[in-house]
Amino acid sequence: MTDTDTLEDDRKYRSLWGDVWSQFRSHRGAMLGSVVFITILLAVAIGPYLWGLDPNFADVRHRNQGMSWGHPFGTDQLGHDMLAQVLQGGRISIAVGLTAMALSLFLGTFIGVLAGYFKRLDGLLMRGTDLFLALPILPLLLVIIMLFRDTLRSMFGPETGIFILIVFIIGITSWMQTARIVRGDVLALKEREFILAANSIGTPSRRVILRHIMPNILSPIMVSATLGIATAIITESALSFLGLGFPSDFPTWGRLLYDGTQRITQAPTRVIWPGLAISLTVLSVNFIGDGLRDALDPRIRGR
């Protein structure tokens, strides 16, 4: 944010991405967010190996325990170690959150841009969006699961099969808002002078969209991305709650939080840790998104 730094650097050779990076680095929130997010990623990726306790080992004699050296996060009603569960659960939750968000963002942006930019496609695509918005999600899930669970399970095994199914389901039922928002912005943008200018010198539509439209709709997309991760993690927990998610021996943050809610007065730590993990992840992704958006905006970067 300091003007003097960038002014001094003026004469050096600067690439676009170098600029973006230096702007990103100077964004305190974004750097902090990145550090937290990478820490969480490392924790869930390596943590289970370091911590060693099996998240699915029920040490029944030591159930419902509070915090201790042996179990820093305590244990649940079956004596599962909560730290191991949170670490293991993070793997699935973050994987589901990120991939489902990416899928819904891709679908939403793609459909939104097409509908906003090409008038001929608008009617069809937006009525399709209306259809998806109106679909009753639970019966749809039941149908999808009935049709595909066994096939996917035999093709990819129980864990990966369900993972693909859940990511697909969350992705396909959550892109509509992004699509509507992107379309609204594109409708306004494409009447702006710089787009008219680009069109009038014969720039092909593909280039106009990628070069001129996309950078300008980045901020709502970033917001959708942040909110999308949170939605995906929580939707996954709702699915497991309904018996449509992962088998019960695969802990996820959402489900840990849900299970803990029942015992909120007896063992508050059971809700605090998974809740904190979800919030920290979403918060850090949000700050990274803020930083990226600022870094990619040439007007802010120039300041």
């Binding site: 009525r127 209306d130 109106a134 149908v143 306004a188 009447e191 970033m222 942040t226 918060l283």
Partner: protein, 342 residues
């Protein structure tokens, strides 16, 4: 614009018919069954008989056409009869859309639940929007100030902590920990039979609404304020803002007239998408506080595979979605006159 609106409305009818058919198809394909929640002591032959009496032996297209007839012809005629006393055709024995579970007309069930859903979910949406807009504007105007950082923190917590948790937390604090004779005590169970007739009953209504409204408003405000902030930020750095300031316009005018108006497009989209959700009810929150509104009706219908009920509710929901998205499209044109649909 009028031309566009009319053309879109014409196009709406086939769209909605198609949507209604696809919904019916999904409900029919879904593997749950109306007898699924009955006690196991009811033997399979009786279950088969129950299914027959619900008409489930008929082919799918036939049941769909029956629903169409009941919903598009019989229900409007019945409304005319109820409201104006007009009787067209056989108005005594006309078959209305009937729920499998309660064996009563679905439209009556929906009407019965409308008040509490509008009170609780509708109010929470209004509160959410009213909180979100100023927070979004101020956080963007003072980007990275303490207010912005604090707002971001609250918004992200509001969004990442699900309502099934915040709801229970509220109940534990306000209904369990606070003694019942305290003025801050709030009931954990919503009384749908309460009629607001005087001041004490109004106070009681406010008290029983307080918790569900707080929980939902936090969630909605978190959502909307993020889009408001992002959109304001985009516009604050535009050239026209500099021009407006250079012209010597007051900062307030620049912000609230120029920037705000241009930033509204994504926010209008989000709000327009949210309003039908109000009528869809908030399933989890209604469940936690026993509000028993439309959301609870829908989830009971789904759990018991009550096809006519779910079909009707979902279809009404689809109508609202189509209408509000049309409203959003019209608003785009008003907010940004450059947008032309014709």
């Amino acid at each position: 614009m009028l031309n566009f609106t009319l053309r879109r409305l014409m196009f709406t009818i086939p769209t909605l018919l198609l949507i209604s058919f696809i919904i019916f198809l999904i409900l029919d394909l879904a593997p749950n069954d109306p007898t699924g929640n009955l006690p196991l002591t009811i033997p399979p032959e009786v279950r088969a008989q129950i299914r027959t009496s619900l008409g489930l032996d008929e082919p799918m297209y036939w049941r769909y056409l029956l629903w169409c007839k009941q919903f598009f012809i019989n229900e409007p005629l019945n409304l005319l009869n109820q409201w104006f006393g007009w009787c067209i055709g056989d108005c005594e024995n006309r078959l209305r859309v009937t729920s499998f579970l309660t064996r009563s007309p679905v439209v009556d069930l929906i009407a019965e639940r409308m008040p509490q859903t509008l009170w609780v979910v509708g109010m929470s949406y209004v509160v959410g929007v009213l909180i979100a807009l100023p927070i979004g504007v101020i956080s963007a105007y003072k980007q990275y100030s303490w207010f912005d950082q604090f707002g971001t923190l609250i918004a992200m917590i509001g969004f990442s902590v699900p309502t099934f948790f915040t709801g229970v937390l509220m109940i534990v604090i306000f209904s369990v920990m606070i003694p019942q004779d305290s003025m801050f005590w709030l009931p954990s169970i919503y009384d749908t039979t309460l009629k607001v007739v005087d001041w004490p009953s109004f106070v009681q209504q406010m008290r029983q609404m307080a918790m569900p409204v707080m929980v939902l408003a936090l969630f909605n405000a978190a959502h909307i304020s993020r889009f408001m902030r992002a959109s304001m930020l985009d516009n604050l750095s535009q050239d026209y803002v500099r021009t407006a300031r250079a012209k010597g316009l007051k900062e307030k005018t620049v912000l609230l007239v120029h920037v705000l108006r241009n930033s509204m497009i994504p926010v209008v989209t989000v709000i327009a998408l949210g309003i039908p959700q109000v009528f869809g009810g908030a399933i989890i929150t209604e469940q936690i506080f026993k509000v028993n509104g439309l959301g609870q009706l829908l989830i009971i219908g789904i759990q018991n595979s009550d096809i006519p009920l779910v079909q009707t509710l979902t279809f009404l929901f689809a109508v609202l979605i189509v209408i509000f998205n049309l409203v959003a499209d019209v608003l785009y044109g008003l907010l940004d006159p450059r947008i032309r649909y014709d």
